[in-house]
């Protein structure tokens, strides 16, 4: 872009649709929700703005269990996502050859089916009288009266499954970009495979890893479908609470306060993660500059 255009208003002009969209559909609703979270009242008397900051402390003390559980499940699922996703993305990027695109397509194909339907399928697959459970029972991994569906295992497995592509795709993108000559240089300098991986490949794939963890962790922590369909009240996450506070109990202030708390915690976690992983990795500039 020429300097003249850059100096002029064009960039701002181009930002306008996006900003307008954000303002109308994000900033304004967020503000309304903030006001909602500080109201008090009931559905019959109506809600009035009383600057009820105790909504936040009450919400936190009543539902800290579900908050902790959400981050715990999302954390475990993200770890599993790395364990499953990294080798997979690595193989596709480095060993995929001519099948690369086909393999990548296979990662995405499940997304052609609605999220809900996919989760419901797991409900059937893991069913008490289903094949999976009876097989695991014969080999002794599940006790005779044990089950898989409606347990912590099924919920975490469901979350991992549903958000895995969000981990694989950015990982693949950053692995695929790595210049093979850098690896060759590593070997030329008598680096062992392990050293080359740890000192060259892994650092260069950090932007993908960081993006993947965030893309997987954030929606996973706010998810409620997996806990709802594959779990029981003992597995409910904070998303379930917000859903039910809003739609079932019509306790809008608590639901709004919980949503804000969830956002705040996410923000804190992202900031801490950015500190650890480095902001260059977070912004994806590291891979590009080298």
């Amino acid at each position: 872009m020429s300097a003249r255009l850059r100096k002029g208003g064009l960039p701002y002009f181009l930002l306008l649709p996006g900003l307008a969209w954000l303002f109308v559909f994000f900033a304004i609703p967020l503000f309304i929700m903030l006001l909602e979270s500080l109201k008090s009242g009931t559905i019959d008397t109506g809600f009035t703005l009383t600057w009820e900051f105790s909504n936040y402390t009450d919400a936190l003390s009543d539902y800290n269990e579900q908050f902790i559980r959400s981050f715990e499940y999302a954390g475990i699922a993200t770890m599993l996502g790395i364990l499953i996703g990294y080798p997979l993305a690595y193989v596709i990027a480095f060993r995929g050859g001519k099948y690369r695109n086909a393999l990548l397509l296979l990662v995405i194909v499940p997304f052609f089916v609605t999220y809900l339907i996919r989760t419901l399928s797991w409900e059937t697959i893991l069913s008490d009288d289903g094949v999976v459970v009876s097989f695991l029972q014969t080999i002794g991994l599940v006790s005779e009266d044990g089950r898989l569906l409606d347990t912590t295992v099924s919920v975490v497995a469901g979350i991992t499954y549903n958000f895995l592509p969000f981990m694989i795709l950015p990982l693949y993108a950053s692995l695929e970009r790595i210049d093979h000559r850098l690896l060759e240089a590593g070997y030329d300098l008598y680096g062992r495979r392990r050293d080359v991986f740890l000192r060259v490949t892994l650092p260069l794939s950090m932007p993908g890893l960081v993006a993947g963890t965030l893309l997987m962790f954030i929606p996973a922590a706010g998810d409620f479908i997996n806990a709802e369909l594959l779990g029981t009240p003992n597995q409910f996450m904070i998303g379930n609470v917000i859903q039910s506070r809003y739609l079932e109990v019509a306790d809008y202030p608590t639901a709004a306060a919980l949503s804000f708390l969830l956002m705040a915690f996410m923000l804190i976690i992202v900031v801490i993660w950015a500190r650890i992983a480095g902001t260059e990795a977070l912004l994806g500039t590291e891979g590009e500059t080298r």
Binding site: T42, I43, D44, T45, T114, L116, I117, L120, S121, T124, S127, D128, D129, G130, D145, R147, L149, D150, E228, G231, T232, P233, N234, F236, N240, V241, Q243, S244, R245, Y246, L247, E248, V249, A250, D251
Partner: protein, 405 residues
């Protein structure tokens, strides 16, 4: 769960059904599976007292719907698959009165529907709706908030004549000026004959350690709490908040311990045939449908009593065609019109004379106690007492905590 989720879930269920079942479904109409699960969504409930002011006051002040002309169209909001499959009822109405019925199946859950319409109704805007169908306690709340029109009973001769006596005077609307029953149903125990050791005649079976993890209860507070409280010796028609709380505690402990697997809306209709649950709390109309698909499924009224609930037609304030809606309500109270609806939905019809019509066509159906219960059968049922707003909030809150939120 959002309505879209429910729709998807129902589609999915259809996909899962085996071909044998599907044949029967095709015979019954496009999608039996659809109807079963949808019907289940009928959230149950009891009655609700309008309380001191609100509805009670408005019944004397509010003017009844004025007589007028039949309009060209009528917008009816109802629960999914809660009318005869091919909707001949609606076509005949159009032929007879000239109004085309826009029948929208937009209600999946009382609370959810309320959340959706609250702001419109609050402004006196019905959102184009001329009629909606909600369960007793929600109907009472709509009255309390002044969201619904008062009927002109003199314009409704069929309703006057054919409403069954037991439903004529509920505590929340003693003169039936604001509500007209659409269908009623029972909440009781549904179980798998091939899985249980003996017929679960009492609610204690739901707490039997042998069935640990194979029990589900309902997310509708009045269904679960009412039935459990009754089994603990309380009378839900006049129990104290403490007695209901005791029932909530008992349910909570059983949920914590894993005795109760989970709490469901209509989802139990897929868990039960799959074998994920064996002994559950469920609704009578579903039981009739489930049994038709799987003879191992049975419904039983627990010894301590079943919860009897009713879904009601109401005309929201601001309805563009209130007079036509009134005519429509009266129209479905004609036994000949009601018969195909009753035959399809399998709940308890509030219209007298339907059994006589149906006995000629389908005697088996007409003799099903779950569809046409006799007085002796209804003896062992209760209606959940009216709760004032504070009591309702307290119980709702405690129950929501138990069911996980």
């Amino acid at each position: 769960m959002t309505p879209t989720d429910d729709e998807l879930e129902r589609h999915f269920e259809r996909l899962l059904r085996d071909p044998l079942t599907r044949r029967r479904l095709m015979k019954r109409g496009a999608a039996g599976a659809l109807s079963v699960s949808a019907l289940a969504y009928l959230a149950a409930c009891g009655t609700d007292d309008p309380g001191g002011g609100g509805g009670g006051g408005s019944s004397t002040e509010q003017k009844a719907i004025a007589k007028g002309e039949i309009g060209d169209s009528l917008y009816v909001a109802n629960w999914p698959a809660y009318i005869d499959e091919d909707r001949d009822t609606l076509k005949t109405f159009q032929k007879k009165y000239g109004a085309e019925v826009k029948y929208v199946e937009e209600i999946n859950d009382n609370n959810e529907f309320f959340g959706k319409v609250r702001q419109q109704y609050d402004r006196g805007d019905s959102g184009g709706r001329d009629m909606h169908v909600v369960t007793d306690w929600m109907a009472a709340r709509m009255m309390r908030l002044g969201y619904v029109e008062k009927f002109d009973r003199s314009a409704m001769p069929n309703f006057e004549k054919n409403l069954i006596p037991s439903l004529k005077s509920p505590p929340f609307d003693p003169k039936r000026d604001f509500t007209a029953p659409w269908q009623s149903g029972l909440t009781g125990i549904i179980y798998r004959k091939d899985k249980v050791k003996s017929e679960p005649k009492t609610v204690d079976a739901l707490f039997d350690p042998d069935y640990k993890g194979k029990v589900t209860m309902l997310t509708e507070m009045r269904d679960t709490v009412g039935v459990v409280a009754a089994s603990m010796g309380a009378d839900p028609e006049k129990a104290s908040v403490d007695e209901f709380m005791a029932a909530i505690d008992k349910v909570g402990e059983a949920s914590q311990s894993g005795q109760i697997r989970t709490f469901t809306g209509n989802e139990y209709i897929k868990d039960l045939p799959k074998g994920d649950s064996w002994v559950i709390l469920g609704w009578s109309g579903d039981a009739v449908q489930l049994k038709a698909d799987n003879p191992n499924i049975e419904f039983v009224v627990p010894e301590s009593g079943s919860h009897l609930w009713t879904d009601n037609m109401q005309i929201p304030v601001g309805a563009p065609e209130a007079f036509t809606a009134e005519k429509f309500i009266d129209y479905v109270y004609d036994p000949e019109v009601q018969a195909p609806i009753a035959a399809y939905v399998n709940y308890i019809t509030p219209v007298a004379g339907v059994k006589e019509v149906l006995v000629k066509e389908d005697p088996k159906l007409a003799n099903n106690q779950l569809i046409f219960p006799d007085d002796a059968f209804l003896e062992n049922t209760f209606i959940f007492r009216g709760l004032d707003p504070e009591e309702e909030a307290e119980l709702d809150d405690a129950f929501q905590q138990v069911i996980g939120a």
